[in-house]
Amino acid sequence: MHPLPGPPQAADANAISASELTRRFGDFTAVDHIDLRIAYGQIFGLLGPNGAGKSTTVKMLTTLIEPTAGTALVAGFDVMKSPAEVRRRIGYVPQMLSADGGLTGRENLTLSAQLYGMRRADRNTRIVEALSFMGLSDAAGKLVKTYSGGMIRRLELAQAMLHRPVVLFLDEPTIGLDPVARYAVWERLRVLQHDFKMTILMTTHDMDEADALCDVLALLHRGKVAVTGKPADLKAALGDGATLDDVFVQYSGSSIQEGGNYRDIRRTRTTASRLG
């Protein structure tokens, strides 16, 4: 594929940098003046209870919704001023299982390749490569509705990596997966980070996942960054033997039940039941 031109000013060393990023829905402030600096090549975890603003943040960074205030640069481009440039450089796996069940795995990938404007010759090589990378070569010709949850997730990762994004956004990548499928996804994400030099921003509820995978975490609470740092440092700050669960409880006001609306929870449950 043709190389993408670099950002207008290469001064920014971060894959993502958000300043005072804010999004209101009517009176409700979903994301409240947050700052994020995510270095190239990191796996960055966005944690927080339901309704803390994780999804809204991801939607702003992936150009799905416009910020009410503040700025964000992704891969060097402003999400508001040059959304098209940002879109060419990012990949996205939504929380819901978004591969099209009525198509085969290969057809799903072909659609992605076409929408990302890949040349036909590159397209086929990349698709074969992505399928084998995700261990889906044998299932490529089968309809996705016959896939297991773990296979669908890996197919979606294959779709998202096809155009070699600079930044990969993952919303709850392993929610509802069994442990084997979950480890398989983790392992592939590490390879994407190390061999493909991708920067990964993921949201998760799973503290084991955050601990095992993420280089840096930010914990959101009520639309603000409650705390940010390396998993080890966050735990150490709470004393010996503290776990990330303790960190989570400490900074999200000890009540996991508050916040989160019916729709969030319903969506999570729907995804979980489709995976089951």
Partner: protein, 274 residues
């Protein structure tokens, strides 16, 4: 030197490469839709049942009435293009439900994060709706053949019928997309789809001439896109069929409506994920 140069149009879609990319993306989207449709063609067949009932039951009974002035064609021949237009409308008006479904699955999110033109997502759906409408036309030609309706078997006229049907399908499916973008839930969408489809049908010349309508209904019929689809088809589908406007006028009106609806739908599409 200091005078301000006119602002350049945005790079995307302004140049020939943008247009080519738009065409490629549109083709990719419609290809996917059609693959899914023909992989499970149950819906295509079930959609053929309703026009069959209208022509065989309603049409045969009303042919006996002879109170409806249909010029020099039989009532059955008169209503055949009308029923084709109706079947196009009823199929296309529920097209948006698929978009709501795709939204709930996150497919729309993924499409909108891609660099594809927003309008290609809309045009791709409209193109596949056009092909789907053409399949309806094929079924209705078959029914008409079996029922000995005086079809005008001219290849150019038949091509015109398929073109008109494709354009009509594009109009109503895009209209449906606009509604889907506004209501966003399946329940509300189904309600509105039901509420809209029958009035559009009755306020058109599908099963009776406009001249028979009361004044106020005539006014509605003039503003109803379905009227132009029926008119376009009636002029070229049956022997001795008469239309109010030349074919190109009917097609032109539908094309203008389509461009307006597609523009609105492209603007509203991103709001689906908000």
């Amino acid at each position: 030197m200091t005078s301000a140069a006119p602002a350049l149009p945005p790079a995307a879609s302004a140049d020939i490469f943008g247009l080519l990319a738009l065409a490629r993306e549109t083709a990719a989207i419609s290809q996917v839709e059609l693959k899914k449709l023909f992989r499970d063609p149950t819906e295509l067949f079930s959609r053929a049942v309703q026009p069959l009932l209208w022509l065989v039951v309603f049409g045969q009974v009303f042919s006996k009435v002879r109170g409806i002035p249909t010029g020099n064609v039989s009532y059955l021949a008169f209503m055949t293009p009308g029923i084709l237009a109706q079947s196009v409308l009823f199929t296309a008006i529920f097209y948006g439900i698929a978009v709501i479904w795709e939204r709930d699955l996150g497919i729309i999110h993924k499409l909108l994060v891609s660099p594809a033109h927003r309008s290609s997502l809309v045009l791709g759906k409209a193109a596949s709706a056009g092909v789907r409408g053409a399949v309806q036309a094929f079924f209705i030609y078959l029914i008409a053949l079996v029922m000995h309706v005086q079809i005008y078997w001219n290849p150019v006229a038949i091509a015109g019928v398929f073109l008109g049907v494709a354009m009509g399908s594009a109009v109503f499916s895009t209209f449906s997309l606009v509604i889907a973008c506004i209501v966003k839930t399946r329940e509300r969408f189904m309600g509105i789809g039901q509420v809209l489809s029958m009035p559009l049908f009755f306020a058109s010349s599908a099963i009776y001439p406009i001249a028979m309508m009361p004044r106020w209904l005539q006014a509605v019929a003039v503003a109803n896109p379905l009227t132009y689809l029926v008119d376009a088809l009636r002029g070229i589908m049956i022997q001795g069929g008469q239309s109010l406007h030349p074919f190109y006028v009917d097609l032109g009106v539908m094309a203008v409506i389509f461009v307006i609806l597609a523009t609105i739908a492209s603007k509203l599409y991103p709001t689906l994920v908000r």
